[in-house]
């Protein structure tokens, strides 16, 4: 499956999910340090 529209949709999906996971991890680590 090399269609650029399909690839773009999957890349966008996993990039958004990955970004949110990293954001949550960073936020939790900062809170754990402060606590």
């Amino acid at each position: 499956v090399t269609d650029p529209w399909v690839l773009a949709s999957y890349l966008a999906t996993y990039a958004v999910i990955g970004g949110y996971v990293f954001y949550l991890r960073a936020r939790r680590r900062r809170l754990t340090r402060e606590g």
Binding site: D3, S9, V16, G35
Partner: protein, 234 residues
């Protein structure tokens, strides 16, 4: 430990979903573009579930006044906004090659989904703008209960107003989809559901840490400041 297991299970399920999407057959009319459905539809369904859970958490907070219900409602709303954003994003990418446009404000499904996205962004903004935890929980619980009305409206918008978006595929009279495509869709739906549970669990944990920090007593001056220690002979 449970959270780590959930995260691993979600990652494995997402990989399985990706594999199922790759090996599923192309559509007779749409060709490979149909594969976008395996991320677009689960994103939309999980957004509906997330906002339903937000309303339920809000209702339970109003009845029981327990903090964890408010944390559940808030966590689910934030993850719901993420999934709504994904549904809008992947829908736009799908729309360009199939409909010839990324966006059409005249389409009932697109416009109502965008409205739902902004209303729940407003829900999150309301929470940030209300410092008192009890007032915040009460206001957001009421908003969560009112805003959930949009979920059936968005879902049935394709039948209520026949515009650009296709009609319901999963209907009371049957599922209008080939079995191999349905299997791939169900695998991805299960993966996104696991991801939703893992993200909400993590977001609730963060909210609990924030609440603990908010209520933690400030250290007394005597314990925070220590006098300089003088060495003999200085």
């Amino acid at each position: 430990m449970t959270r780590k297991l959930l995260a691993v299970a979600a990652a494995v399920a997402l990989a399985a979903g990706l594999w199922a999407a790759v090996v599923s057959p192309p559509d007779v009319f749409q060709g490979d573009f149909v594969r976008i459905m395996y991320v677009h539809v689960p994103s939309a369904w999980l957004a509906f579930l997330a906002f339903g859970v937000t309303a339920f958490g809000g209702l339970m907070w109003l009845v029981r006044k327990k903090d964890h219900w408010d944390r559940l409602a808030a966590a689910s709303a934030e993850v719901g906004v993420l999934f709504t954003g994904l549904a809008l994003l992947t829908g736009s990418i799908w729309g360009k090659p199939v409909w010839g446009t990324y966006w059409d404000w005249g389409d009932a499904r697109m416009a109502s989904t965008a409205l739902m996205f902004f209303v729940y962004l407003g829900y999150l903004a309301l929470r940030r703008a209300t410092p008192d935890p009890v007032t915040r929980a009460r206001r957001s619980s009421i908003l969560g209960l009112v805003a959930v009305v949009q979920v059936p409206l968005v879902y049935f918008s394709v039948n209520l107003w026949r515009t650009l978006h296709q009609g319901l595929t999963v209907r009371p009279d049957g599922i209008q989809m080939d079995g191999s495509m349905l299997r791939a869709l169900l695998v991805n739906l299960a993966a996104f559901t696991l991801l939703y549970v893992a993200l909400v669990a993590e977001r609730m944990r963060i909210a609990r840490l924030e609440a603990e920090l908010e209520t933690a007593p400030l250290p007394a001056a005597g314990t925070a400041v220590s006098s300089p220690r003088l060495e003999p002979g200085t």
